[in-house]
């Protein structure tokens, strides 16, 4: 009995780990100890290292062969999705070789990116000079919008009571209603 439980637990762990949004090859290169906070002060000291960061897109710029995303960093949850979007340690810049449509990769969308630290760049930001760590994207995951209108579970109707869905409060806060 005890063994089954352990097995189940291991299965669950394996499942969660396998859920990472980026490919295994890229994840193997990632040094997860290199958090945004660790690198931000001195990006030059970590050149060539691969980090896994995420956040909310602030601005998308398209050049002929490169797309530049300015991202407001947030911590990642177990699924590597940005969480606590209102708290951020700062911003960073992602260079992606190729075209990302600015209509899709637009302001407000959440991404998780694995990329190589390429240095820093100082740019004006609301009257100050802001120093951005710059990473070259190896893989970017764009998270699906959390749009209440898309999921009828979330429809508010007095019949369901104040919490939306009869099964109650915590579920609609879950980011993947289709898991259920």
């Amino acid at each position: 009995m005890k063994e089954t439980r352990i097995h189940l637990f291991l299965l669950a762990v394996a499942f969660i780990l396998s859920c990472a949004p980026l490919s295994k090859e890229v994840m193997q290169q990632v040094d997860e100890t290199l958090t945004y906070q660790a690198v931000q002060k001195n990006p030059q000291g970590f050149l060539g290292k691969t980090v896994l960061w995420g956040g909310v897109i602030v601005k998308t710029t398209n050049r002929q062969d490169v797309t530049i995303l300015e991202v407001r960093q947030s911590e990642l949850d177990v699924e590597k999705r940005p969480k606590n979007l209102d708290s951020s340690a700062g911003r960073f810049i992602v260079h992606h070789a190729g075209f990302l449509d600015p209509v899709i990769y637009k302001e407000g969308r959440e991404i998780t990116v694995a990329g190589e630290i390429a240095g820093k760049q100082a740019l004006p930001l609301e009257g100050i000079q802001y120093t951005y760590p710059v990473i070259l994207a190896k893989e970017i995951h764009l998270w699906e919008r959390i749009d209440p209108l898309r999921y009828p579970y979330w429809d508010y109707s007095p019949f369901w009571g104040p919490y939306g869905y009869p099964y109650g409060y915590p579920y609609w806060r879950h980011r993947y209603p289709y898991w259920w």
Binding site: N62, D101, I104, E107, L142, I146, D155, Y156, W172
Partner: protein, 162 residues
Amino acid sequence: MRLFILIILAVFLAACTQGIPQESLKMADPNLTFQMLIKNPEQYRGKNILAGGQILGTSTREGETWIEVLQKPLDWETKPKDTDESFGRFLIRFEGFADPAIYTPGKLITVLGEVLGKKVQPLRNMDYAYPVLTPRDHYLWRPETGGGPIFHFGIGVGTVIH
């Protein structure tokens, strides 16, 4: 009797199908995908393709109207899916006037069109090579509002920054 019911059902189904009618769908080249088209629009000039997506903008010129579309995969009824998947953008060139107040940004459109070639025009700070289609048939999807309750409970999980 059973056959009769079946026929009625078939007629009913056929009648309520939205999107591009079957006769037009037959014209589409079954081997041509949008992914192939966008890589080299000139190569497929004259072929018919079924494509759809979300309207990004409409501009009227003298005698013609250009609609810019963000391509999206289509579902079983040829309706563009609500997804982030896209292989790029394309242009539809309408002969005459297509009202920009009807073909508004955000609406979904499906088109069976003949490949006219490509058109390079600026997109932000770069040049983008758009495949251009001349519509043989098209369908503008009604925006989805109906069905659910009018009252929506806005849960602020997704953040929007202005």
